[in-house]
C-alpha cells in the first residue's frame, strides 16, 4: 500500500516530449524554489529508510550501522534459509489465488453495478466502497473474529479469503470506470450479428476490458504480496506468509537477511507496478490505472 503513492506520483521528469517542455519553460522559471525544496525533502524522507535497507542488504558485515564493503552474503543467506523460502512460496500462492479470485469477482461486480439500474444496485455500489476506507486493522481483527466465531481454523486459506474480500473493492473501482466507458452498442452489435448475450460478453466486452483487467491483477498481486496487517490476523501458525515471518524474525533481533528480503520485495513491487502502468500502453489505449496515477 505505502509504496503506491511514490511510484505513481509524477515527479518533474526530465524526459518530457519536446513541445511540452517548450510551453513549460516559462512557468518553470516562476516556480517558487521553496516548493521544489519541499518536494525534494518529501521524497528524501520517503525513500531514506528504504535506501538504508537496500544499502545494508549489500553490507559484508553483520552491522546495521556501519557499512563495511559490498557483498551478496545476505542474499546467499536468504536463499539458503528454508523457513524464509517456504514463506515466500506461501506468499506467492496467497497472492496468486487472491488476485485470481478478486479479479473474477470484482470484474463481475463491476459489470453488474454499471448495468444495474435498480436502487439495490446503487446501494451495493456504495457498500462496495466501504473496505477502501475501513482501517485495515479493523478488517483484520473482524476477519479473525469471524473465522474464530465460525470455528474455522486459521490457515493459508483464511488469509486468501480475507485478501480477496479486501482487494475486491480495488478491482471493482478500477474496472467499473472502464465498463462505464464502454459503448453499449458494441455488445448489441455482437448480438445483432448472431451472438448470444453471454457470447457477446465473452467475445467483445471482455477483450475490450482486458488491459484494465491485467493492470488491476498486477496491482492486486503487489498489494496482497506485501500485505502484513490482514495476513497477520488471519494466518495460521505454519506456513506463514513472508511479511508475517519477517515480523516474527525481527522480534528476536534484526538479521541483515531481512534487509536482503526487503530489497527483493521492493524490487518486485516496483516491477509489478511499473508493469501495471505499462500494460495498457501495450494495447495502445489509456490505462486501467487512470484513477491511481491521477492522469
Amino acid at each position: 500500500m505505502t509504496q503506491l503513492s511514490p511510484t505513481t506520483t509524477t515527479a518533474p521528469a526530465p524526459d518530457r516530449p519536446v513541445e511540452r517542455t517548450r510551453t513549460r519553460r516559462g512557468r518553470a522559471g516562476r516556480r517558487p524554489r521553496v516548493l521544489v525544496a519541499v518536494t525534494a525533502l518529501f521524497f528524501a524522507l520517503l525513500y531514506l529508510p528504504i535506501a538504508v535497507v537496500t544499502l545494508f542488504s549489500f553490507n559484508s558485515q553483520k552491522s546495521l550501522t556501519v557499512f563495511d564493503g559490498f557483498s551478496l552474503r545476505w542474499y546467499r543467506a536468504f536463499v539458503h534459509d528454508d523457513v524464509l523460502i517456504s514463506s515466500l512460496g506461501t506468499s506467492l500462492r496467497i497472492s496468486l489465488v487472491a488476485t485470481a479470485g478478486s479479479v473474477v469477482l470484482g470484474g463481475a461486480l463491476a459489470l453488474g453495478l454499471v448495468r444495474s439500474r435498480t436502487r439495490l444496485g446503487s446501494l451495493a455500489g456504495l457498500i462496495m466502497l466501504v473496505p477502501l476506507i475501513t482501517p485495515e486493522i479493523v478488517t483484520g481483527v473482524a476477519s479473525m473474529l469471524l473465522f474464530k466465531g465460525l470455528g474455522v481454523t486459521l490457515s493459508t486459506g483464511t488469509v486468501m479469503l480475507s485478501e480477496i474480500t479486501f482487494s475486491l473493492s480495488y478491482v471493482t473501482v478500477i474496472l467499473r470506470s472502464r465498463v462505464a466507458a464502454l459503448n453499449p452498442e458494441v455488445e448489441e452489435a455482437a448480438m445483432d450479428l448472431g451472438a448470444t448475450r453471454w457470447q457477446a460478453v465473452r467475445l467483445v466486452t471482455l477483450p475490450a476490458l482486458l488491459p484494465a483487467v491485467l493492470a488491476s491483477a498486477v496491482l492486486i498481486f503487489a498489494l496482497v504480496f506485501d500485505d502484513f496487517v490482514l495476513a497477520y490476523f488471519t494466518t495460521g501458525v505454519d506456513p506463514q506468509p513472508l511479511s508475517v515471518r519477517i515480523y516474527s524474525a525481527i522480534r528476536f533481533g534484526v538479521q541483515p537477511t531481512i534487509n536482503a528480503v526487503g530489497t527483493l520485495m521492493l524490487a518486485g513491487s516496483i516491477g509489478l507496478i511499473a508493469l501495471a502502468l505499462f500494460i495498457p500502453r501495450l494495447f495502445g489505449r489509456r490505462g486501467g490505472l487512470d484513477i491511481l496515477s491521477g492522469s
Binding site: 459503448n183 452498442e185 458494441v186 448489441e188 452489435a189 455482437a190 448480438m191 445483432d192 450479428l193 448472431g194 451472438a195 448470444t196 448475450r197 457470447q199 467475445l203 467483445v204 477483450p207 475490450a208 482486458l210 495502445g284
Partner: protein
C-alpha cells in the same frame, strides 16, 4: 399473411415509465425498399428501429418479419442486421475479423467466410484494409466497415440508425449516393432512421414521418414534400411559409393580412381555423402566368447563397414569406431585388396548401 412485407409493425407501442416513446405504430415495409423513418429527436424512430432489431421489447403489439411473428425473439434469432449510429466496431479485431464476425457465429465454412468478406470489402471499397484495426480508419471508412459487417450476413432487412450523422457534410452526401447504390445492388430492404429531411428525400423509396411517438405521414418523398398531411410534416420537411387564418368559401383570410384564394375545399367547414403553406420555390417573382394568386410585399432581406437567392418578403405586418429564386444565367446581379423595395409576387393556386 402477406409475405411480401419484409417488416410489419402491428399496433406496436413502447412505454417508458410514464410516457409513450412509440404509440400504436402500424407499418408495412415492402421487400426491397429503401424505407426511411424520419423525425426530430425523441420522436420514437430509433425506438421503433430497436424493436425491429430486437433490442427493445414492445409494451404492446407485434413485430413481424417476412410474415413471421418475431416479437419474442432475441436479436441473434432475427434475420436482420443493424448499422449502429456509433458504428460499434470491435476495436480488438481486424477489419476482416469484424466483417467475418456474423458468419463465424453462423458456422459458415472458413473458405466461404474468406471469400464473402473479400467480396464485401470490395463492395464498400475497403479492399486492402482487411488487416487494419478500426481505430486506424477514418470516420467514413469505419462507417463502411459497419455496413459491410452487417451486409455480409445477407439479412432480409438491414436496419440503419442515423449511420451518416457523424460524417461531415461532403462525405455524408457522397455516402448517401453510395448507400443508395449499394442498396440497389444487393436488393436488401433498408430501414433507415434519420432526422435529416434532405437525406430522407434523396435516398428513400418511401418515407414515414414520425412525431411524438406517432406516424404523421407515410408516402413517397414527393408525396410527403408536395402534399404534407399535417402542419408538422409541412414545417419539418423544408421551409414552408406557414401562415394561420380562417377558411371561408374557397379563401383563407389570414389572421394578419390579406385573403388568399385557395379553391373550394369540401372537407373543410366554413369558419375553420387553418394553416396555409406555400413552398419558397413555388413563389414566382417575374414572368407571371394568368390565373396565379398575386400578392404584393416589401423585401426585408436578400440572402445570396450561390446557386440560389432567398428573399424574405413581408406580406403583411408579422407575416414574412421566404422566397427562393434560382440564380440562372439570365439573372444578373443588378436585377436582384434589394431591401425596402415593394415587389409583386405570385403562385399557382394549387401550390397553396391548406392544412387543418
Amino acid at each position: 399473411m402477406d409475405a411480401t412485407h419484409a417488416v410489419r409493425l402491428d399496433g406496436v407501442s413502447k412505454r417508458f415509465a410514464d410516457s409513450y416513446a412509440v404509440h400504436d405504430l402500424n407499418l408495412d415495409i415492402e421487400a426491397g425498399r429503401f424505407f426511411s423513418l424520419l423525425g426530430p429527436s425523441g420522436c420514437g424512430k430509433t425506438t421503433s428501429l430497436r424493436m425491429i432489431g430486437g433490442f427493445t421489447d414492445p409494451t404492446e403489439g407485434s413485430v413481424l418479419l417476412a410474415g413471421e411473428d418475431v416479437t419474442a425473439l432475441p436479436p441473434d434469432k432475427r434475420n436482420v442486421n443493424t448499422v449502429f449510429q456509433s458504428y460499434a466496431l470491435f476495436d480488438h479485431l481486424s477489419i476482416a475479423d469484424n466483417v467475418a464476425f456474423g458468419l463465424k457465429r453462423k458456422g459458415v465454412q472458413k473458405a466461404e467466410i474468406r471469400r464473402r468478406v473479400g467480396e464485401m470489402l470490395e463492395l464498400v471499397q475497403l479492399d486492402g484494409f482487411a488487416a487494419r484495426r478500426p481505430r486506424t480508419l477514418s470516420g467514413g471508412q469505419r462507417q463502411r466497415v459497419a455496413l459491410a459487417r452487417a451486409l455480409v450476413n445477407r439479412p432480409a432487412v438491414l436496419l440503419l440508425d442515423e449511420p451518416l450523422a457523424a460524417l461531415d457534410l461532403k462525405l455524408r452526401r457522397q455516402m448517401q449516393v453510395e448507400l443508395k447504390q449499394i442498396q440497389r445492388e444487393v436488393g436488401i430492404t433498408f430501414v433507415f432512421v434519420t432526422h435529416d429531411q434532405d437525406e430522407a428525400l434523396t435516398m428513400s423509396d418511401r418515407i414515414c414521418v414520425m412525431n411524438e411517438g406517432r406516424v404523421e405521414q407515410c408516402g413517397t418523398p414527393e408525396d410527403v414534400y408536395e402534399h404534407p398531411a399535417s402542419r408538422f410534416v409541412a414545417s419539418f420537411m423544408g421551409t414552408s411559409n406557414l401562415m394561420t387564418g380562417t377558411y371561408r368559401d374557397g379563401t383563407v383570410t389570414l389572421d394578419q393580412g390579406p385573403a388568399l384564394p385557395v379553391g373550394p375545399r369540401t372537407a373543410i367547414a366554413d369558419g375553420t381555423a387553418v394553416s396555409v403553406s406555400v413552398r419558397p420555390e413555388k413563389v414566382w417573382l417575374s414572368d407571371f402566368e394568368p390565373g396565379m394568386s398575386m400578392q404584393r410585399g416589401v423585401i426585408r432581406e436578400t440572402v445570396y447563397s450561390g446557386p440560389t437567392t432567398t428573399y424574405l418578403i413581408e406580406l403583411a405586418p408579422g407575416v414574412t414569406l421566404s422566397v427562393l429564386e434560382q440564380n440562372t444565367a439570365r439573372a444578373r446581379m443588378e436585377d436582384r431585388w434589394s431591401g425596402g423595395e415593394t415587389v409583386e409576387f405570385g403562385w399557382r393556386p394549387e401550390h397553396c396548401l391548406v392544412l387543418a
